[in-house]
Amino acid sequence: MEISTLQVILVFLVSCVCGAGSILDEFQTHRPLIACTLIGLVLGDMTTGIIVGGSLELLALGWMNIGAALAPDAALASVISTILVIVGGQDISTGIAVAIPLAAAGQVLTYVVRAITVGFQHAADKSVEDGNLARLDWIHFGALMLQAMRIAIPALIVALTAGTDVVQTMLNAIPPVVTTGLKIAGGFIAVVGYAMVINMMRAGHLMPFFYAGFVIAAFTDFNLVALGVLGTIMAVIYIQIHPKYNKSQQVVVAAASNNDLDNRLD
């Protein structure tokens, strides 16, 4: 597919939003669901973007920044694999396979930028001497822009080259057994994300709820909304009846029943 100059500019801008979203982690514009959809939209094939986004989102479900530990980068993976699928005319499964090394590359890039922004932090210290608040705002924006460029520049390069013969030949050189294998792996690779979420909870005593979810899903046709309601009900009941949260009431109840017993014995 040929892309117009306007589309190249739009890809650049959307990539900026996704790159900024990746560091901010606020609006979630770096998540595949949003990033792939937006790239699809500006490239004129939103439906494909949404489908790539849905598939990648399942893969990336557990990718999260906890403390100072950085997750694989969903922004670079989403943006570039969507461009490759739509502009480069690749299968969605190939796009997802390419996304994995891209996520690793994005992770390295974000390490680099987060180290560079240490310099911005030191530049901010100047305001301690003159009380200038506006400078702080600009330094903060500057660091954010650097994070936006981290995604926008690679995206621009890929957008300009994805349709070329060199890239096409490279992507088409992947043997079919590899693409089939990737498709198969795509069926169960999401468990990595699930495992990351489960580990993050660090709540061994709550694991029965995990098994309950598994068995109920295995033997019913409940959709996610029904399961969500069921999970919430379980959570509420657990909190209501767990002795840990009802210490004071329990004492009262115990005391009352003791009296009752005494009366009857009398």
Partner: protein, 278 residues
């Protein structure tokens, strides 16, 4: 000299909420969210210490450029409490730098412990799973639902966090030990784990087409039993469950998630090559 009472206005608080949407913009390995915290609280510093050359303002900037890092959304109540303390200090109460920074540092650990499981462990994966399910069929509702739901929860946290923290001031510390946060964290974890269990079963697909037996029935039909059909009669989704346990074990042993994903790709390719998987 007139002693005017310095007061943070409603619009200052709103401005802090708005700015805190860019909380992590300058996240760096040295002081992490320090500049983001300062950037967010900037309108309050401007209000309380209007003179740029005053030592009070310079001290305040110095205070808030100190190390800070927590889950970004639960930084909202910390911002609120800090605003309340800054206001009292600006009006002459004996609150020193150590007190303000002590509260900030003291709150960030416990709040991250609450924020991580609630937002990253439950809210985002649950909404994302819901959205991804719709998105796989190409429906725009998928991304929209995820975006709207998650941001509603996030913005509510940001808004109520700042206003509640400001109103309560130091009482927040007492509220936190009341067990409400623990209930919320545990409740969210239950929902999160329950949904993860369902997803392991529902949103994975694996097929081992190896034929175990082919039986010629009397009515002429043949019944082919594959490894997968035996597994399914035991418990549908058994293999993904085992894979999940393997992942959890590997992750706990500090294996990078990307390597595990690469490993799964290798299993997939090997399976396709040998015909064990389809």
């Amino acid at each position: 000299m007139t002693t005017e009472i310095k007061k943070v206005t409603k619009s200052d608080l709103n401005s802090v909420v708005l700015r805190s949407n860019l909380f992590q913009g300058s996240w760096n390995f040295e002081r992490m969210q320090a500049l983001g915290f300062m950037y967010s609280i900037s309108p309050v510093i401007k209000r309380l210490y209007p003179d740029p050359n005053s030592q009070e303002r310079k001290d305040a900037i110095k205070r808030h450029l100190e190390f800070f890092n927590t889950q970004p959304f639960v930084a909202a109540p910390v911002l609120g409490v800090t605003i309340a303390m800054e206001e009292e200090r600006a009006n002459g109460k004996p609150i020193d730098d150590a007190a303000i920074n002590g509260i900030k540092v003291g709150l960030m650990g416990p709040l991250a412990g609450v924020g991580d499981p609630i937002y990253w462990g439950t809210a985002r994966p649950v909404f994302a799973a819901l959205g991804a399910g719709l998105a796989l069929s190409g429906s725009i509702l998928g991304p929209l639902l995820f975006f709207v739901l998650f941001n509603l929860v996030r913005l509510a946290t940001r808004y109520y966090g700042v206003t509640y923290g400001y109103k309560k001031g130091l009482d927040v510390v007492q509220d936190m030990s009341g067990g409400l946060l623990q209930k919320l964290t545990e409740g969210a974890s239950i929902l999160g784990l329950f949904i993860m269990g369902a997803l392991v079963q529902k949103w994975t697909s694996i097929n081992v087409p190896l034929v175990v037996s082919t039986i010629q029935k009397q009515d002429g039909t043949t019944e082919i039993t594959t490894v997968q059909s035996i597994l399914d009669s035991l418990m549908p989704g058994l293999l993904p469950l085992l894979f999940t346990f393997a992942c959890m074990w590997l992750l706990r042993n500090r294996v990078n998630a990307l390597w595990i994903i690469v490993g799964f790709f290798v299993i997939g390719i090997f399976g396709a090559w040998t015909g064990i998987l389809a």
